[in-house]
């Protein structure tokens, strides 16, 4: 079985996001970029399934500009067998990303597609679900445990009410939640090894995917700021203040 893994590059989670003063976007020049944390978890899960013998091949997929190659090399260094780079200079909205994945699925015929539940830049939380709909296959979102037996995946999902277990026939789409696993660190020899692993580049235009964006972002604003409060001198003063606000 092949596993396709979405591997998006985003502004690192430790970066303090600054909105440009003219409201046209957020500052990304010179800002540290990293793998979307949920995608690292997706890749880790795919690698573990390969190590268990459930899958033979793990393919990381990135959609983005030419310099995305370095990011895909990280995915290869972590352990993916090969990478597919869908080349486009434009930002990709979730529905378009799902349509791209569907094209790659037709070509690669994976048994499983694992994506992060959301990317920490646009926080859309859509691509996996949209892909499952277009593919007409099961979706198991927000996964905190995945077990594959035969042609079925049993997935524990983190839902508001607790933990939901569902059974999905393969092929299927799984999206990862934080608790699924702890991604491994990349070791130096693996970085060297990754240099010889293949990255296939596919021009976005050659995939025949409708790229019409239904959503237009017209303005970016900084969130309402919290103002600095007061310092209290001791426990008694704190409790009194909270009681006065009706919080204790």
């Amino acid at each position: 079985m092949k596993i396709l893994v979405g591997y998006k590059r985003v502004v690192d989670y430790n970066v303090r996001i600054q909105v440009k003063s003219d409201g046209t976007g957020v500052v990304t020049d010179g800002v540290k970029l990293s793998a979307n944390p949920f995608d690292d978890i997706a890749l880790e899960e795919a690698l573990r399934l390969r190590e268990k013998g459930v899958a033979e091949e793990v393919i990381v997929v990135g959609i983005g500009p030419a310099d995305l190659t370095a990011h895909l090399r990280n995915g290869l260094a972590m352990g993916a067998n090969r990478a597919i780079h869908v080349l486009t200079a434009d930002a990709t909205q979730p529905l378009t990303a799902a349509r791209v994945f569907l094209k790659l699925i037709e070509k690669e015929q994976p048994g499983l597609v694992i994506l992060g539940k959301q990317a920490i830049d646009d926080d859309a939380n859509q691509t996996g679900q949209m892909l499952a709909a277009l593919w007409d296959r099961p979706q198991a979102t927000f996964a905190s445990k995945v077990e594959i037996a035969g042609d079925k995946a049993t997935v524990t999902r983190e839902v508001d009410a607790g933990l939901e277990v569902i059974e999905a026939a393969l092929p299927a789409v799984i999206t990862t939640d934080l608790r699924l696993n702890e991604p491994r660190f990349i070791k130096l020899p693996d970085i060297m090894k990754a240099k010889s692993k293949p990255i296939e580049t596919i021009e976005f235009g050659s995939l025949d995917v409708e790229a019409h964006d239904h959503l237009k972002t017209t303005h970016y604003a900084a969130p309402a700021k919290r103002s600095k409060g007061v310092m209290v001198k001791d426990a008694a003063e704190l409790v009194a203040a909270l009681k006065q606000k009706g919080l204790l």
Partner: protein, 314 residues
């Protein structure tokens, strides 16, 4: 003219309050028609509750045994089919809505607006990105149905009581997949409030020092009836499991009271608590960034201060 279909969220025969919050967003769009769609195996009790929400035009029900559990793959084709003729489909932005709404959008071939915080016009909305560190204004294409999830923390529940919307049973003629099967739902059995929805949360950070020391956080939380959270540093250090993590890659919460103990206030943590009502910070380092966002700050040793706080509460 806006015709809005609101998808009801429910569990164990009861309507979730997230539904009435989504109705509030539909009212903000000034929808001429606001219909609530209930998909369940047994719809009556849920539909009766939904009909009481002020502003609802009709409650539509689809009673099928396949709808006993909220499986996105099963619900989405029914919602997509029912959506014909509506200008908007609103779904609560809970794990239920986040799961099903994009599947509906893709079936309709449209984009989705996630986590609507405010309505600026029939097709213009504000929503958070970068875990709320930026707020964007997005315009949806007026030529297509708008599928949106409604961020519960941003909307009060529409009032209930005076409403008495008619309830109509629908037959939705659509094939349902059998490739996905519900197995079980394990509901949280802890006596503590749920971190995501609790009105009070006490969190501990690296400053707590060890897994054993974290008991002091749990005890204090129990003392004031709060849920327990933790910073990423505390989770990474192995003090508590990652389901307690509050922050950008953990849970984003908006309790009325948030008490951060031994948490320095890394940016990734602060983004998870920005919508909290009142933030209290207790830290031995008076320069810690957490004090920049705290409504009340107390500098000192947590192992001395927490027992003092407990004594004050006795």
């Amino acid at each position: 003219m806006s015709k809005i279909l609101v998808i009801a969220e429910h569990l164990d025969g009861k309507l979730n309050s997230s539904t009435a919050r989504a109705v509030s967003a539909a009212i903000a769009v000034k929808g001429e028609v606001i219909d609530v769609l209930v998909l369940a195996d047994s719809v009556d009790a849920i539909a009766t509750e939904a009909a009481k929400i002020n502003g609802v035009s009709r409650v539509l029900t689809v009673a099928r045994s396949e709808n006993a559990h909220a499986l996105a793959a099963v619900l989405a084709p029914q919602i997509a089919k029912t959506a014909a003729g509506y200008s908007h489909v609103f779904v609560p932005s809970t794990t239920f809505g986040k799961d099903v709404a994009p599947r509906v959008a893709a079936l309709l071939g449209v984009a989705q607006v996630s986590d609507v915080m405010s309505v600026e016009g029939t097709h213009t909305f504000r929503r958070p990105i970068y875990a709320g560190n930026a707020i964007i204004t997005v315009e949806a294409d007026a030529a297509h149905t708008v599928v949106a999830t409604i961020r519960s923390a941003s909307w009060g529940a529409a009032a209930t009581g005076t409403g008495s919307a008619p309830i109509e049973a629908l037959t939705v003629d659509v094939a349902l997949p059998t490739h996905t099967r519900f197995v079980e739902l394990k509901q949280g059995s802890s006596d503590r409030p749920d971190l995501q929805s609790a009105s009070k949360v006490v969190s501990g950070g690296r400053g707590v020092g060890s897994k054993e020391n974290f008991d002091i956080i749990f005890k204090f939380a129990d003392r004031i009836g709060a849920a327990v959270g933790a910073s990423r540093a505390a989770v990474d250090a192995g003090y508590v499991p990652s389901d307690l993590q509050v922050g950008q890659t953990g849970k984003i919460i908006a309790p009325e009271l948030y008490v951060a103990i031994g948490i320095s206030g890394a940016i990734q943590h602060l983004t998870g608590i920005k919508d909290a009502g009142t933030i209290v910070a207790i830290n031995k380092d008076g320069e810690a960034p957490i004090f920049e966002v705290a409504d009340f700050g107390l500098v000192g040793d947590l192992f001395k201060l927490i027992p003092e706080l407990e004594a004050q509460l006795r």
